[in-house]
Each structure stands twice: as C-alpha cells, then as structure tokens.
C-alpha cells in the first residue's frame, strides 16, 4: 500500500522514538582535553538560536522559554560542561540562518546538515533522526509523480535544499512555518508538503487538520532528517566538545529526554479509525450476542412451555391410566369378594326353588332374590367393564406414529433412569386400521414394563417392519396361531436389556391379575389388557427372552387386504 490515512499513521507514530538515536551509541566519560577546558573557561556564555517553531524538536513559547527535545539535550549538556547557553529569540528561522552566517549566534541546537549550511556551520554527529515524508490532502502516491506540481517546504529547512536538488521540475512553495505549509496543503493551495514525520504528526495533531495523508514509504529519496548541533564555523573546539558531551550521555539520560516527548506521538484514541472500527465491531458483536441471547432466551422459554405442556399431558395420561388400573384392581377385588357370595345365593335359591312349596308367594320371593343377584352382578360387571377396553375406535393410521408418541410419553422416565431408546421404524410401513389411544396404552405398558425390568441404565430397542413369515421360527412367535407361513405381517418388536422373563412366568404372563411385580407396583391388569387390545386389532403378542439377554415382546398384525401379496 502506497499511502495510509493520517490517523493510521498517527497511531504508528508512537514508534517514532525508536528512530531517535544517540550519536555515539555507547555512553562514556566526558574526557575533555586541557585545551578544550581552557576554551570553555574562555567562553562561559554561548549564544544559541533555536528554531522558534520546530516542535517537537525545539520551539520558543510565547513567554520566550526554549522547549523541545533538542532543548532538553542542550540544558543537559550545558550542565555537564558548566557553560551557560543564552537563548536568542524573537527571530524567524530565515533570520536566524542569516545571523548564523554572520556568526551573530554561536550555536544552532537542532539543524540538518546541508552543503549550503556547511559553508558557515560545523556539524556535530547527528543525535536525532526522523524520516522525511510527503503530506498531502488527496492521497498522493509518491513525490516522484509530482513533477510540475506545487510542493510546500519550510523556507531554509533541509527539505528546501533537498527537494530543490532532487526534483528540479517540482514547483517549490517556500513557507515560513510548518503550520502554514500544512494549512496550504489541507486547503489545496499546494499539492503536498515535504517535512519530517515527527513534525508533521505533531503539527497535524495540534492543529486538528484531519484531511491530510502522510505518504509513508513513497519517499525513500527524501531519506532521514538527521539533526545535529550546528556550531559557528570558526569555533571547531566547540564542535569537538559538543560531540564528546553528546557521546558521554548515558542511555538513562537519553531515555529520560525521549520520554518527555513521547507523549506527542500518542494520538488521542478517539482519533484513531482503528478505534472506531474496533468499537463498531465490538458493538456489533455485543448487539449480535445480545440479540442472540434474547432469541435464545425466547426459544428456551417456548421450549420450556412446550415441554411443560407435554409433560403435563403425559402425566395426565399416566394418571388416568393409573386411575383406571386402580379402578380395575378395586373392581377385581370387589368382584372376587362379592361374586362368590352371589354365587352361593344364586345356587342356594336355585336349590330352594325346587325344594320349597311351589306356592305363588314363594315363587315370587325366589324370583325377587334371583333378580337381586342379577342386579348385583350387573353392577360388578359394569365396574369391571369400566376398567377394561372392550371396543375399538378404528381409524386408518400409522403404527410408527403411535410408537413414537408413546415413546415420547415415557421419555421423562427413560431419561430419569438413564435408559437409552433406539428406534428402527420401517419407513414403508403401510397404514392399518387402529385405535391410536388403545394402542398407545399398549406401547406405554410395554415400555414401562421394560423400564421397570431394567430399573436403571439399559437400552430399549423398538423396531417395526413388514415381514414375510418364511420360516417356522417366524411363526413361533404367533402365540395365537393367527397367521400362516409366507403371510406378510406388520411386525413390531420391543426389546430390552433387562433380566428377561423367568421360565415359570412365561405361560401366565398374559393372564389377568398375574404379576411378577412386588405388591403395590403392578396390578396384573397390564399385559392381560394389552393382549386384549392386540387381539381386538387382529394381532398377536408374544414375549420371549433374547439370546443376548433381556426380553423381547413381538407384536404381529395382519396386513390390509391387497397389501399382502
């Protein structure tokens, strides 16, 4: 990239102090010769003339005080040498140059070495080095392409000299100070300005001009602005003394001076586009996260509400099933306890009706007792029938759907007991005439039996398929002898990894009130009711142990006419 926006550069300008270096590299003792000491004694006051407007290197404030990085060097060296530097001020730079030519001042503290200046100044080794840059308002790529254009330089600065020589076809607009030059550039009165990086960034920041760009790497020929101290040419002793003094500065002293002026390199963070980009990105991310959180929260709420509803439905259904079981158990108990006495009364009356006199009144009494027994029996039958499933409400439906919805209803129980459910439901299962509610009762019953058998940790495997009964072993699971060889059936298997079924329980497991569960856990109604419902669907149910352990319940249903080919 040839150019970069000013603000980006401001950001990088904090690297600038790295470009400022110590003249000698290594600090050492200040070892002056006797002649040099004598010379200093003879010249206790040295007149210095700083550039009044060359921040951050040096400038004169309104109250006449000398400031800047070079000033710090000067005061430190003055202290080391025991000389007093008298600051000459109140002149423009061009006037100061003129005075230096006339030896009216003794030392220019921060000045670039040019051939022109060598005529009247002796230069110490450079102690500050800053790259030269091109500043423009319209993204100029390179000074090389600015032939015929106007470029501003501060009059008599080293850039004046350099640009004039390197680019003779550039029209040079000499200005009195940097600020004015930058203003001209910003306004478009000149196409660009050549100066050093430190001054440019410093001044742009001070003046708040924000439409300027600094071409960072397009001006290799401009090189570095190296600032030295310029001593009047007839005072070679002073140049030697100053070189020694600069070389004697130790790293700590140099760092102390630099750190005083590092501040100017730190752009205000809000002026950095990166800051705003970062802020924008951060805000976007926060907004995105927040929106995501809100959406997620709402989805979660909906999900919770849905699950709660489902759970409530499941609980209601299970409660209803339990209620029916309780009624069934009660009815069975009542039936057993009441029907035996009724049987005694019934047969007792039958006997007496033959033995007693056949008068009209006796016959009526017997008939009344007979009727009363019937009535009482009907009440018990009604109670028993209430808890049984007698009739089906058949509709064409998918057995897979019934299996899935039943599994969903026991899902909570499965998760609580860490039982994994695996379903392998055939996609091509044909619809059949079924009572979804009743079959759901069947599957819940089978699933819960498996769950109780496994207790905790296990696998419930449910599969459905259309199967042709090809072998006798297929028919073996047709407990009612309902199907024939080669017949196609809908076959559902519910397998668990529990302990399986005991041999002695096999024959009776589908009998009414037969239960292997401890008192209070099961009523024995479950599998008998299950079998009843399956039979009403023209199906069979069979239970067996799997070779690999656990029980397997197989249901087989007739395929609809026409589908059995």
């Amino acid at each position: 990239m040839g150019t970069m926006p000013l603000l980006k550069l401001l950001y990088t300008a904090c690297l600038l102090p790295l470009l400022l270096y110590c003249v000698s590299g290594m600090a050492g003792e200040l070892a002056l010769t006797a002649d040099e000491r004598q010379w200093l004694d003879d010249h206790p006051v040295i007149r210095i003339a700083p550039d009044p407007d060359f921040s951050p290197f040096e400038w004169i404030s309104k109250d006449g005080v000398y400031h800047g990085m070079a000033a710090d060097y000067v005061w430190l060296i003055g202290k080391k040498l025991g000389v007093r530097f008298e600051v000459i001020h109140g002149y423009k730079w061009s006037q100061i140059i003129a005075m230096a030519q006339q030896h009216e001042v003794d030392l220019l503290p921060a000045v670039g070495e040019t051939e022109e200046r060598m005529k009247y100044l002796l230069f110490t080794k450079p102690y500050i080095s800053v790259p030269g840059v091109l500043v423009s308002s319209d993204n100029q790529e390179s000074i090389e392409k600015l032939g015929g254009h106007k470029i501003a330089v501060v009059r008599d600065y080293m850039w004046d000299d350099l640009v004039s020589k390197l680019y003779p076809d550039i029209l040079i607009e000499r200005v009195d100070d940097l600020k004015f030059g930058l203003e001209l550039t910003a306004l478009g009165a000149v196409d660009a300005m050549v100066t050093d990086l430190a001054s440019a960034t410093n001044m742009i920041q001070q003046t708040n001009i924000n439409n300027l760009h600094i071409v960072s790497d397009a001006t290799p020929k401009l090189g570095y602005m190296e600032l030295s101290m310029g001593v009047r040419s007839d005072w070679p002793q002073l140049r030697s003394i100053l070189d020694k003094a600069l070389a004697s500065l130790d790293t700590a002293e140099i760092i102390a001076i630099r750190s005083n002026w590092i501040k100017f390199n730190e752009p205000a963070f809000w002026r950095d586009s990166n800051f705003w980009y970062s802020l924008l990105i951060a805000l976007s991310v926060v907004l995105l996260l927040f929106s995501g959180f809100i959406i997620w929260n709402r989805m979660l709420k909906k999900e919770v509400a849905l699950r709660t509803r489902e759970l409530q439905t499941a609980q209601k259904q299970l409660m209803q099933a339990e209620k029916m079981e309780t009624i069934g158990r009660l009815a069975a108990g009542v039936a057993h306890e009441v029907k035996n006495p009724l049987a005694i009364i019934q047969m007792g009356v039958d006997y007496l009706s033959h033995e007693m006199s056949q008068d009209k009144d006796s016959l009526e009494v017997i008939k009344d007792i007979d009727d009363a027994v019937r009535r009482a029996d009907n009440v018990i039958l009604g109670l028993l029938d209430f808890s049984r499933d007698k009739k089906l409400e058949l509709k064409q439906g998918s057995l897979n759907d019934v299996i899935s919805s039943s599994l969903h209803l026991v899902d909570h129980e499965l998760r609580q007991r860490n039982i994994k459910a695996e379903t392998l439901l055939a996609e091509n299962l044909p619809a059949m005439a079924l009572d979804a509610n009743k079959l759901q009762q069947v599957f819940i019953n089978l699933f819960m039996n498996a769950v109780h058998a496994m207790d905790h940790n296990g696998e419930l495997r449910i599969s459905s398929e259309v199967k042709r009964l090809e072998e006798q072993s297929d028919l073996a699971r047709d407990s009612d002898g309902l199907f024939t060889i080669n017949e196609q059936v809908i076959r559902v298997e519910v397998a668990d990894t529990g302990p399986g079924i005991r041999e002695q329980d096999k024959a009776k497991i589908f009998e009414l009130f037969y239960t292997t569960k401890v008192v209070g856990e099961g009523t024995g109604l479950g599998l008998s009711v299950t079998r009843n419902i399956i039979n009403l669907h023209h199906g069979t149910i069979d239970i067996a142990n799997r070779p690999q352990g656990g029980a397997s319940v197989v249901l087989m249903f007739k395929l609809n006419e026409g589908e059995n080919q």
Partner: protein, 125 residues
Amino acid sequence: MTKRILVVDDEPAITRMVKLNLERTQNYEVLTENRSTNAIAAARQFQPDLILLDVMMPEMDGDEIASQLRQDEQLSKIKFVFMTAIVSKDDIETMGSNIGGNEFLAKPVKTEELIATIERVLAES
C-alpha cells in the same frame, strides 16, 4: 349312568351348593374339595369324569391343578370346567383361550346354565 363330578373351590358354601344342585338331578355323583392342594389326590382317588375348578384359590390355582392332572395319562380323559369370580362373560369371550382352551363360567352362575355347560363338555369327545 351317573357321572362323577369333582368340585374344587376354597369356598365351602359354594361346593355345598353345587353338590346339592347337581345331586338333586340324580345324574351326578359329586365329591367336593375345599383345599386346592388336596385336589389332585382327590381326583386320583375319585376318578371323576369332570372337574369343576375355581380359578383363583390360595396355595394352588385351578390352572395349575388342571395342567398337573393332564400330565397324568390315567387321568387324561378328565374334562374341566373353570369357574371364576373375577371376569365377566365378555372377558371369557375374548380371553377364553388363555387358560388351556377350556370352558369357563363366570360366578354367579345359574344352576341350569352350570348343568348345561357340564353336559356339553362331557358330550365332547
């Protein structure tokens, strides 16, 4: 020719009523047994043509008694009629084949129906 009927039920009043009603017809010779565990020995000794069995009894239920007697070749010709107090007629229709494919009667049963059933079962070859 009178037929021998063994009546097994844990309720003495029932066995008594059945015995009275059956013997009144003079077509049957009836032995009653109220303890299910004694039923098999009673059957061996009495050699009945038909056993009227209560399904639910303490100690040993009717189905178990029937299956044990069926394994005995000498007793294999015995017919069974089951009586139960806990199912309705509809149950018997839908679940009748559950216990050995035998005839079921739901208590309370009228004597004429009991006799009709016994006769029908006895008539089966």
